[in-house]
């Protein structure tokens, strides 16, 4: 990427928009109209620009092995996200990036993988899951613990179900509020820990979700004897540039955009429990 283009988006073509839940949609962008979309690594994000409306950091949720395609899962909660999810195929959406660090899939090779996701936090973890399933022999057990507000908020339901039937793979979901037809777990995501066998010495954990949830998950993992260096978190802060000069995403000494968003837990530990940091 040249210096001149770092703040200028590519006008990428929307290929399709799929409804995931009542408020969350997955947009697939594809190369075309003279725009070649870049490759990305699992855990990275893009800045998505909506013509005249604004720009937001959005994690890439698609398959890293599919060149020419970038997929984003977006919850419609504001003006720009609403405009994003109401795009039609053929419309353009501005894309900058990909930016940021990746899940440490290379150094986790040969180890068990524990993935803990909360809400839309599952989106930046999906590319890592795709990678692990594609290179299945490179990794040990895969455990996915996923918490959402309610049954209607669960993302990627068909994939969750399909993954749960795979060998050496355990997928557990829980919701905060069940409702009468829900037969699954109810409670925060840490309540799922009693259902899994964790080998702390040979597991690498990838965590993404609300900060409060991540704090409790880390506490749970440390209680179970997991070394801090094998725990990795994906952080979120306000971002206007994604390249370290708008200043908005600072958390202590870290710029979430360029030093993260994925951090080894020891780098985040001094800052996580500081309210209003």
């Amino acid at each position: 990427m040249t210096a001149a283009s770092v703040m200028t988006p590519l006008a990428a073509r929307v290929a399709r928009v799929d409804k995931e839940t009542h408020d969350t949609f997955t947009l697939a962008m594809e190369s075309g109209n003279g725009v070649d979309l870049p490759r990305f690594r699992p855990g990275q994000f893009s800045m998505l620009y909506l013509f005249g409306a604004g720009e937001l950091p959005i994690s890439i949720s698609g398959d890293p092995e599919k060149p020419g395609e970038l997929v984003y899962t977006v919850r419609s909660v504001g003006q720009v996200t609403y405009a994003l999810v109401t795009r039609k195929p053929g419309d353009s959406v501005g894309v900058r990036g990909p930016f940021g660090t990746q899940w440490p899939l290379a150094s986790a090779r040969g180890r068990d993988i524990l993935i803990v996701a909360g809400g839309i936090g599952l989106a930046p973890l999906r590319p890592a899951i795709y990678h692990i399933l594609r290179q299945r022999g490179d990794y040990g057990r895969l455990v996915l613990l996923y918490g959402a507000r309610g049954p209607r908020d669960l993302l990627y339901k068909k994939e969750l179900s399909a993954w749960s039937y795979l060998p050496d793979t355990q997928v557990l979901t829980t919701v905060d509020y069940g409702g009468v037809n829900w037969r699954g777990h109810v409670g925060v995501v840490t309540t799922l820990f009693r259902f899994i066998r964790l080998q702390p010495g040979q597991t690498t954990a990838f965590i993404c979700g609300p900060e409060l949830m991540m704090r409790y998950v880390v506490r749970e993992l440390e209680t179970r004897g997991m070394p801090a260096g094998h725990i990795h978190l994906s952080m979120e802060r306000n971002m206007k540039c994604a390249v370290g000069f708008c200043g908005h995403c600072q958390m202590g000494p870290h710029f979430i955009c360029k030093d993260g968003p994925i951090f080894p837990y020891p780098e985040m530990r001094p800052w996580l429990d500081r309210y209003e940091l």
């Binding site: 210096a3 001149a4 013509f51 306000n238 708008c246 908005h248 940091l277």
Partner: protein, 384 residues
């Protein structure tokens, strides 16, 4: 005088040669930015010729106060400048990032920003030069360079002046600097003004500076002039009123996260963001988007932003830093601690602008002293 400065060849220029300097710079297509009187203060602005320099004026500064005052002499650089630093020109408050146009849902980017003008800065202090080198680390030498800054920065010419008249708000000597410019200039002037002489000692810092200096027919320096120069600088160094103890400052800030002083300063702070606007190194920006009424054309602008605003830290669900104390703490901790981790230097050069331009009279040197648990050193009201 540093060893490096002592080795540079020094010449003299009279005030008329300074006028010629402006013509030479203009003939090289530079737009000249220098201190001048605007809105009742001395500010950097675009100027034409020496006559627009604030000859015979000075600027009295204290906390929450900046007043123009007549001098007894005709000094051209007898003051520290006002609110704005070179930041306003090299990292401007508003910059259009691009325009775009849309038809049938498909948009295209129309342009990038216009090429940067050639700027020559006159009357630049040591603190400004050090601030510029800090901005370089942030905007030019980090992983991603800011294209607009790099383009503007590449084309500048700097005529620095040694600071013979620090304000009571200044504390550059604490922050690793001092009234003498150590480097980062093309030309350096020291103004010597007394009852019987008005002369500038000039030295070049770059080959471009040497070239310009040669055209001005500089004179030889005499022993008397050198003695006057040393006396002026000694007087300047003795004039500093404020200081900050910087040893262990980074650790102090990180460890003071729960210090009650943050509540006390928050009770004074208006969250007006003045300190961040006038700071020569505060670089934070936001972006704003706009369209025409039929939403066919759009523009994206970059604007200065401040960590003192509530929206600065907004993520879905609310702002991370809601309380005033968390915002003041973020600012000071970034300046004096996180900046060291991020860019290998404090984000402060001790120019004192945040003290002068804080309408609540908050003094950063006192805040740091309070965090240390020591009395604010020689920084009581009305000092100087």
């Amino acid at each position: 005088m540093t060893a490096k400065a002592a080795m540079r060849k020094q010449f003299t220029l009279n005030p008329a040669a300074l006028e010629q300097l402006f013509s030479v710079l203009e003939s090289h297509d530079f737009q000249i930015v220098g201190p001048t009187i605007r809105n009742g203060t001395i500010q950097y602005d675009y100027i034409k010729g020496c006559k627009e320099l604030p000859s015979g004026w000075t600027s009295e500064q204290e906390r929450a106060s900046c007043r123009l005052k007549r001098r007894k002499d005709d000094a051209l650089f007898g003051y520290v400048p006002g609110a704005d630093s070179l930041k306003r020109f090299l990292h401007p408050p508003e910059l259009r990032l691009f325009r775009a146009e849309r038809e049938n849902g498909v948009f295209r980017i129309l342009d990038n920003p216009a090429p940067a003008p050639k700027l020559a800065f006159v009357g630049v202090r040591s603190c400004e030069l050090r601030a510029l080198s800090i901005l370089d680390r942030v905007l030019a030498e980090d992983r991603y360079p800011d294209a607009a800054y790099v383009a503007a920065r590449r084309r500048i010419f700097i005529v620095a002046v040694n600071c013979t008249e620090p304000a009571p708000t200044c504390f550059c000597t604490s922050m690793g600097g001092g009234p003498e410019a150590g480097g980062g200039f093309d030309l350096l002037l020291t103004e010597i003004v007394s009852d019987n002489q008005h002369v500038f000692v000039a030295e070049a810092g770059t080959s471009e500076g040497s070239g310009v200096l040669a055209v001005l027919n500089p004179g030889e320096v005499t022993k008397e002039i050198m003695a006057a120069l040393h006396e002026a600088m000694d007087r300047s160094k003795a004039a500093f009123k404020r200081e900050v103890a910087t040893e262990g400052l980074r650790e102090l800030l990180y460890e003071s996260f729960d210090h009650p002083q943050w509540d006390r300063v928050a009770a004074q702070c208006f969250l007006c963001a003045n300190c961040t606007m006038v700071c020569p190194t505060c670089f934070c920006v936001t972006v704003e988007d706009s369209t025409d009424v039929p939403v066919r054309r759009a523009e994206r602008w970059r604007k200065w932003d401040s960590c003192f605003t509530q929206n600065f830290s907004y993520i879905h669900g609310g702002s991370v830093r809601l309380s005033p104390k968390s915002r003041y703490r973020q600012w000071l901790t970034h300046k004096m601690a996180a900046w060291v981790d991020q860019f290998g230097t404090f984000g402060c050069v001790g120019c004192g602008r945040c003290i002068t331009w804080c309408p609540a009279g908050i003094d950063v040197t006192e805040q740091i002293a309070a965090l240390r648990g020591t009395a604010a050193p020689a920084a009581s009201d009305g000092a100087g």
